[in-house]
Amino acid sequence: MAANQENSFNHLVFKAQAVRKQMNTNLRDQVVKDIYQRAEEIAAKAVALPDTRNDLDRKIDNIVTSRIWGYPLMFALLSLVFWLTITGANYPSQLLSNVLFGFQEQLTGFFRWAGAPAWLHGVLVLGLYRCLAWVVSVMLPPMAIFFPLFTFLEDLGYLPRVAFNLDKLFKKAGAHGKQILTMCMGFGCNAAGIIACRIIESPRERLIAILTNNFVPCNGRFPTLIAMAAVFMGALAAGTNSFAAAGVVAGVVLIGIAVTLLVSRILSKTLLKGVPSTFTLELPPYRMPKIGTLLIRSILDRTIFVLMRAVVVAAPAGVITWILANVTIGDMSIVARLAGWLDGFGRIIGLDGYILLAFLLGLPANEIVVPILIMCYLAQGTMLELDSIEALRQLLLNNGWTWLTALNMILFSLLHFPCATTLLTVRKETQSTKWTVLAALIPTGAAIAVCFLVAQIVRALGLV
């Protein structure tokens, strides 16, 4: 009896739901239609719309999204932004580093005057201060150029056209077209790119975008890529051959995009199965950006924000690195010992133990990877500012580097695990330890696989 009653009650609820669903669709349709009808009536009385079939926006779009010019133009603009960033940042970086490293002498003098013990001077000045000085002088100028340029393209209305041009590739990869916008943000900072993934509503596609954002190199990795590109090209200095360096960096970005698409596709066939959700993208009218607000927004909101975050993680990293490099167990420093353990594996993938260790120690912030590496090679226990790319090249050659090492360093930097801040952001955005772990494992796996293949092929062909 009771069971029967419950049964008929459930039946009734089910029926009511079905009716309500039907009502809902019709009701919603009607409401939306009425709103638009009313709006149209009002607009027709008050606004006269010009014929837009031949306006300037369409002419610009005819070029920007054309079959012939669409893709080359995107690549040219990308290269131009990098070239402006590299050449523009050269001089102010030099200036900043002179000032900041000059101040270090003052600090050393003060410590000596105060009679501070050598270890305290080491930890605070040679570890903490030098690491901060490096991060600020290397990162601030490129970011202060890159972010305004990027914000300019964003405010202009060009970025949605990029998404429009590239959407088909992302559709084929089972991903969302707006992923390209989150990737553009990733050029500035991957943590910012991952927050930007909120613009993708479907959880599946959002996760794909989050897990692959790391494959676009962020500002913290550009100095590494640029330095390695300069070494790799055999150029004397980044300044004299910034065209070639910008070209290599732009090429690296293309590899990053290709890997993003490939990994997105694999993810949407395996862990994140499903069909693409709805895609609607507005192509807004072009607008001349307001330079004043653009500068304030890009410098304050982006540059300073990212820099402060880097400073916060770089300070403890500098301390830890100094301690590891200066505390000896037996007759070797801890750094040398750790590098020794990693060396065998490093060589298989075309790198060496010190490079892998530098990447591991650089987990807090990618921009300190090269300084840590230089410090290890020099074995002086402090981070050193080498004054030219040529000096860096000599140092690397003396430590057994070939062009293959430089190439794999670039590839590993492009593909490896994201920095600690980015991982924390992934944790915050996904609320899941599983996806955070995968956000570290997937890129690392890709980096190892690619470097291994490149090293084996190059060696098998006898090119090194």
Partner: protein, 82 residues
């Protein structure tokens, strides 16, 4: 009314059409309605992406790109000059 109805996907670039209805249900339907794709709305196919898909449509003054998966769900008929 003998004017043939067809899917928005088939509207050639430069062509105009009038919305008849939306076939999709649920979330997709809501998204498309919110763009203003209610019956009788005039839509112009403005341009194709260099890759052929998506296609950008002028809908109520805004330029909106739709993938073929979405535009296939929208039934339109040719605009008669009157």
């Amino acid at each position: 009314m003998s004017i043939a109805e067809f899917e928005l996907t088939q509207l050639p670039v430069g062509g105009f059409a009038r919305v008849v209805g939306i076939k999709a249900e649920g979330l997709v339907r809501n998204r498309l309605l919110d763009l203003g794709l209610v019956p009788a709305t005039v839509v112009e196919a403005v341009r194709k992406s260099p890759a052929g898909d998506p296609i950008a449509y002028k809908i109520r003054g805004a330029l909106i790109a739709l993938r073929s998966e979405e535009s296939r769900q929208i039934t339109v008929r040719a605009l008669v000059e009157d």
